[in-house]
């Protein structure tokens, strides 16, 4: 079996299986832990609304925090939005998702995707530099932070190389790109990349609990 068929076939299949199994394992393992009932008198019972509200509002910093968080947060948004544009806006990617789910939507002009990809790589590199040089981040960071970074930037770089036909024969570049996506999928449930799901659960939990108390969000 050639590398491309392996990447598109068994590698991708197993990566998706690990992704689904691992993510649900982790989520079930967290959410099915003990929950203590709360007998205190609630200030409000609109906890679902509180949960949804915090999921939305925590997307940006409160005014008072903006000055100190602007740079880091903006950098984060550049690569998050960049990734969204690339992953969900590039027609070949949309076609992959279509082959998996049946869903499809119009794509963006490829040049916009390429620019977005380049900006994403630049922002990710800047974020790494920041993580290595900022004292707080250097203290906090561990293997997970660096490996997750690697596993995220590699698909973008290999994707750009593939569309540029740069560095090897195209089918090899494509295979490497797909294999790097397989690695991302397989790693996601086990590291900090799981925040793609946990962000809703964590924000929602606090939103619900704090709405109950009328506490600040």
């Amino acid at each position: 079996m050639d590398l491309l068929s392996f990447a598109r076939g068994p590698a991708l299949q197993w990566a998706l299986v690990i992704f689904v199994l691992g993510s649900l394992w982790r989520l079930a393992g967290i959410l099915l832990l003990r929950r203590k009932p709360d007998y205190t008198e609630p200030r409000s019972r609109a906890t679902w609304r509180g949960a949804l509200k915090l999921i939305v509002t925590r997307t940006w910093s409160r005014r008072e925090f903006r000055a100190s968080t602007a740079f880091g947060q903006s950098l984060g948004y550049v690569f998050h939005i960049g990734l969204v544009v690339v992953v969900f806006g590039f027609v070949p990617h949309i076609l992959f998702i279509h082959s998996l789910t049946g869903l499809q939507w119009p794509g963006l002009p490829s040049s916009i995707v390429y620019v977005s990809g380049a900006l994403t790589v630049a922002a990710l590199v800047a974020a790494l530099v920041r993580r290595l040089s900022n004292p707080v981040l250097r203290l906090l960071s561990n293997f997970d932070d660096y490996f997750s970074w690697l596993v995220t930037v590699t698909p973008v770089i290999t994707g750009l190389l593939a569309v540029a036909h740069l560095g090897a024969r195209y089918e090899t570049l494509l295979a490497v790109h797909i294999l790097s996506v397989c690695l991302l999928l397989a790693w996601l449930p086990f590291g900090k990349l799981m925040h793609v799901f946990l962000v809703f659960i964590s924000r929602g939990t606090t939103g619900a609990l704090f709405a109950r108390k009328g506490a600040s969000t």
Partner: protein, 362 residues
């Protein structure tokens, strides 16, 4: 004793009533087809002028005869000029007039006379199981015929994807155990001219190149790089639409009618190495993409099992769907996670009990 020498290629041309000038034009045209510089055209002419027409044995196994059909459409060199003037085609099931034992004997005779020097052309795949019983011609298995013929060949040219890579007989589930020429021939130079079928001029051009200059530069799949060096995608005239992200969504939509890229309709151009986009078919008339259909990838190994002709290259390559597998994975994930949570809760209960025991004495 008969000492009559076989006529040279030039002499064959002249015997046909074609002038030396016509012969030189043939060499120039062929060299041009092969994208060779002018000097090499002269070299080709000199070589062919002085050599007798080389013996060529053409064996056909698990094939549809499409490759031979393609060969007969060659414009340069034409089939006629090839077989009458340039080569001595000692055996070909379809083209020869003779049949049966007489034909077989003629083949053996020609092989014997040119042992070690003839060119063996093969099309079709070769089944291996049961001593090759799934393809038997004149009482002999294809496996046996190939082995025997390859022994005395100067080179083996596998024409068509079936001979080069196994092709359609090799496609899943490969019920006959079909194998390619290169799977079976290890000790002779093998040149793969893949395609389903290959472009006519690619077949004839490669043969003439070999006669003039020997084995050409081959890629990792043993295909001549002069014809298989770039992908369809790299030379496709619709590439600007791919780059812009303009894709036909169905075969008769606005995009299709405007000649947009056929990626979404399953074109395998980006991973297919061939000359269709440059040389095209029918003497440069058109090629599949130009006619509005995506490239099938027919010159690549396993193109039949490449996920489907109408499924884009970026779609997953799973046979029979993936939904079930992911469903099982999902259930398993929740179950294992739930078990982990239960185990953790048990741990907590045990810990709480242990904590209630009186502390260690101070």
């Amino acid at each position: 004793m008969n000492t009559q020498r076989d006529p040279t290629v030039l002499e064959s041309f002249q015997q046909q009533g074609l002038s030396r000038r016509a012969f030189l034009k043939f060499c120039a045209a062929t060299a041009s087809l092969l994208a060779l510089p002018a000097a090499r055209a002269a070299e080709l002419a000199e070589k062919l002028a002085g050599m007798p027409r080389p013996t060529v044995i053409y064996l056909s196994f698990q094939e549809c005869t499409g490759c031979l059909e393609s060969l007969t459409r060659s414009f340069q060199p034409t089939l006629e000029s090839l077989i009458f003037n340039t080569i001595s085609l000692a055996y070909n099931d379809t083209l020869q007039a003779a049949a049966g034992e007489a034909a077989e004997a003629a083949r053996e005779d020609a092989m014997r006379k040119a042992w070690g020097k003839y060119v063996l052309i093969v099309d079709g795949a070769i089944p291996r199981p049961e001593d090759g019983a799934y393809c038997v011609i004149g009482g002999r298995s294809a496996l046996d015929l190939l082995r025997h013929a390859a022994e005395g060949a100067a080179a083996v040219v596998a024409v068509g994807t079936c001979a080069a890579f196994g092709g359609i007989p090799y496609a899943a589930p490969n019920p006959t155990g079909a194998a390619s020429v290169q799977d079976l021939v290890g000790d002779r130079p093998v040149i793969n001219i893949s395609g389903c079928p290959p472009i006519p001029e690619v077949i004839t051009g490669t043969i003439v190149y070999f006669l003039g200059f020997g084995v050409p530069e081959l890629d990792a799949q043993r295909r001549p790089t002069m014809f298989y060096g770039t992908t369809i995608h790299d030379r496709c005239y619709r590439r600007p639409f791919y780059d812009k992200g303009l894709f036909a969504r169905s075969f008769d939509d606005e995009g299709a009618r405007n000649g947009w890229c056929l990626y979404e309709l399953g074109c395998k151009g980006p991973v297919t190495y061939n000359s269709c986009a440059t040389m095209k078919w029918n003497d440069g008339t058109s090629f599949p993409i130009q006619s509005g259909h995506g490239c099938l990838g027919c010159s690549e190994p396993n193109f039949w099992d490449g996920g489907g002709f109408y499924r884009p290259l970026s779609s997953g390559l799973w046979h029979g769907g993936i939904g079930e597998g992911l469903g099982v994975a999902a259930v398993a994930g929740v179950a294992i996670g739930g078990a982990a949570a239960v185990a953790a809760r048990q741990r907590q209960k045990r810990t709480t009990e242990a904590g209630k025991k009186p502390p260690e004495a101070p």
